[in-house]
């Protein structure tokens, strides 16, 4: 690997070596380290909130959920008062908002509930009133 990498997302050599070892790819059940999963179709195969965050949300909101800023910004989800009402992140994920894509067609009700519950109880957020798949289903109407 002659790729020069620096900055916040520095990959440990061990992780790289592990990736370069054959991983015996079998669509959905064998995955490389660090919560990596690969979906085979349009919809996400990741099921837990942690997996969904690590494979989808952190693309923009970053692994530590602090967001990022360029010509525009991705908001930080750290200690985020907007997450107090569980319905707000549900609506955002189902419908999208401004540049943020909607994920309503790519995740099930259960997946959306799982990732909302994960974000609301991590990254300095302590909202333990879990949302349910039914909440998501209701929000789709």
């Amino acid at each position: 690997m002659a790729l020069a990498i620096s900055g916040a997302g520095k990959v440990g050599l061990a992780a790289l070596v592990a990736l370069l070892v054959p991983i015996g790819f079998a669509q959905n059940d064998s995955r490389p380290p660090s919560n990596r999963a690969f979906s085979s179709g349009y919809k996400f195969v990741e099921m837990t909130g942690e997996e969904l965050f690590a494979n989808v949300c952190q693309g923009c909101h970053m692994p530590d959920a602090t967001g990022a800023a360029g010509a525009g910004t991705y908001p930080s989800l750290v200690g985020d008062r907007n997450l107090e009402a569980g319905g707000y992140p549900i609506t955002l994920i189902v419908n999208g908002r401004r540049g943020m894509p909607p994920f309503g067609d790519m995740m099930t009700d259960g997946q959306i509930a799982a990732v909302v519950n994960y974000v609301r109880t991590h990254f300095g957020n302590g909202y333990h009133d879990a949302v349910t798949a039914k909440d998501v289903s209701d929000a789709r109407r």
């Binding site: 690997m1 620096s6 919809k43 989808v56 990022a68 360029g70 010509a71």
Partner: protein
């Protein structure tokens, strides 16, 4: 004369043009089968005096630079604010020595050998993208063929054929042949008699025999007829032992269950039909050619923070992107804003509710491209794949081979993954760049085992992490377009938007240019009428 009808028709057309004007010529072109289907009608003519009016253009991508070039020519005072330290926007090429920092601070330095490159953004130009091709001609950008279709490239299904990639040539011939055989069978059984007249029946059978490479009994079999389409077990040679051997077709059921048939359309759609082009040396040759034309008009590293207007003019606030402490302002009579909606939707902007709602209504697609350098061009040396694209159901989706430098010894760069929308584009975006590259090598090795020993280095661009776009392109839904598109494109006071997001060709450079030409024509009309 059948081979050169163009000369005589062209002479006739210029005569009609000279005699009767361009409308008559266009009508004549249409009836002679010459007219393009494009809405591009040749270089824009902005007639009338703008009387010293000024235009501030936001963004030095193809839309912004098209507007700058044409408006300056029409007599406007023009300046451009650009976020990056270079022009071109998504028209972009990465070469050895280039470094790039994505959102989150992940920095990559491209280590390709000199002369090798990838285009992280647009990489191919359809022959009917007439506006873009016209600017390439006018700006002296040399083009070469982009091979969308290579019969010797692969179609690959990870759970079919023991994971062994199949040649496009064979799958296409076998699918077409066996579908033809089925159709010939029911035709002969008289089951199509209601739909096909008796006269047409014999012609249909002949056509199926020809199109499907069927034998005299209308069967698709291993023989030298089908081999001419699907390839030989032993190619025709010279002298003794040069006799060809037919190859065995893949059974229809195996093709159906592998789902490889779904890739056949990748070469058939209008935007992917032959002939396609790429600029010689990298896609950014176009952006650089535009930038030469508008040299001196572009203010780089300018991050726009607010867009205000009143009945007298437009004021845009910006900061130096590298040192954002002091807010500066630029003013003009009019504004052409090409800032991607993913960013514009976050800025305070003085426009009416309808346009603001439209700006807020468009999500931005995810897309990832990964360039990989190898010690040698094994795809050519070992597998006789010269340019084109292999398709796979692995998360990398595509492997695209370079369409230049054919048959050379030494290093080569190929596109090791191209994700556009869908789950995989998000999954790759969520990885650190080095992990994206490592994954592309891992998956690609299932198609080309040479990856393991020949790989040297790579770069990976995930468009949601690109600081100047926050996404690949405007991802309009049909409902969103129906509700908001016209409102997005209307002139609001002194502001008009342009870019691929304001076109019916989203994610294509042609859309950016056509949108810009349409916007400045309407703006100019308003200026000269007031």
């Amino acid at each position: 004369m059948q081979n050169e009808p163009g000369v005589r028709r062209r002479d006739l057309l210029s005569l009609i043009g000279a005699m009767a004007g361009s409308a008559a010529m266009y009508h004549a072109m249409t009836s002679l089968g010459f007219a393009s289907e494009s809405t591009y009608k040749g270089p824009v003519k902005l007639q009338g005096d703008p009387k010293g009016a000024s235009v501030l253009i936001l963004g030095a991508g193809l839309a912004g630079m098209t507007a700058a070039l044409e408006l300056r020519k029409a007599g406007y005072k023009v300046q451009i604010l650009e976020f990056n330290s270079r022009a071109g926007g998504r028209n972009w090429t990465l070469r050895g020595g280039d470094s790039f920092t994505e959102l989150g601070g992940f920095k990559q330095t491209c280590e390709f050998e000199q002369g090798l490159y990838i285009n992280p953004g647009p990489w191919r130009i359809p022959y009917h993208h007439r506006a873009l091709l016209d600017y390439c001609r006018r700006l002296g950008v040399a083009l070469e063929p982009f091979l969308q279709l290579n019969h010797n490239a692969y179609l690959h299904a990870s759970r079919a054929f023991d994971g062994k990639p199949q040649r496009f040539r064979a799958i296409k011939a076998d699918f077409q042949g066996q579908v033809s055989e089925l159709l010939a069978k029911v035709t002969q059984q008289g089951k199509l008699d209601e739909a096909v007249s008796k006269e047409d029946r014999e012609i249909l059978l002949q056509a199926l025999q020809s199109w499907g490479a069927l034998d005299r009994d209308y069967k698709y079999n291993a023989n030298l007829v089908s081999a001419e389409f699907r390839g030989y077990a032993r190619d025709p040679g010279g002298g003794l032992g040069g006799d060809p051997l037919p190859s065995d077709p893949v059974a229809l059921s195996d093709i159906l269950r592998s789902r490889l048939w779904r890739y056949l359309q990748s070469f058939a759609r209008y935007n992917f039909q032959t002939t396609m082009f790429q600029p010689v040396g990298g896609m950014d040759m176009i952006g650089k050619a535009f930038a030469r034309e508008v040299d001196g008009l572009i203010h780089y590293n300018a991050k726009v923070t607010q867009i205000q207007q009143n009945d007298r003019g437009v004021t845009v606030s910006y900061v130096d992107a590298t040192n954002p402490s002091a807010v500066q302002q630029a003013t003009a009579d009019w504004c052409v804003c090409t800032i991607p909606l993913s960013i514009l939707s976050q800025l305070p902007i003085d426009v009416g509710g309808a346009m603001k709602n439209a700006i807020d209504a468009v999500p931005y697609a995810g897309s990832v491209k990964i360039g990989l350098q190898f010690k040698r061009r094994f795809w050519e040396e070992d597998e006789a794949i010269y340019g084109g694209i292999s398709y796979t159901d692995l998360p990398i989706r595509q492997i695209a081979y370079p369409n230049t430098g054919f048959n050379r010894t030494g290093r080569g760069v190929l596109l090791g993954a191209y994700l556009f929308e869908g789950a995989n584009s998000y999954e790759f975006t969520a990885m650190p760049p080095a992990e994206r590259v490592a994954s592309a090598v891992e998956f690609g090795a299932m198609i080309h085992p040479q990856y393991k020993s020949e790989f040297e280095n790579g770069v990976a661009v995930a468009w949601h992490r690109v600081p100047f776009t926050l996404g690949c392109s405007g991802e309009w839904s049909d409902a969103g377009r129906a509700q908001h598109f016209r409102n997005l494109c209307q002139i609001d006071g002194r502001i008009v938007l342009a870019g691929e997001h304001a076109s019916d060709l989203p994610a294509w450079q042609e859309g950016a240019i056509l949108s810009s030409l349409d916007a400045i024509a309407r703006l100019h009309d308003r200026v000269v009428r007031t």
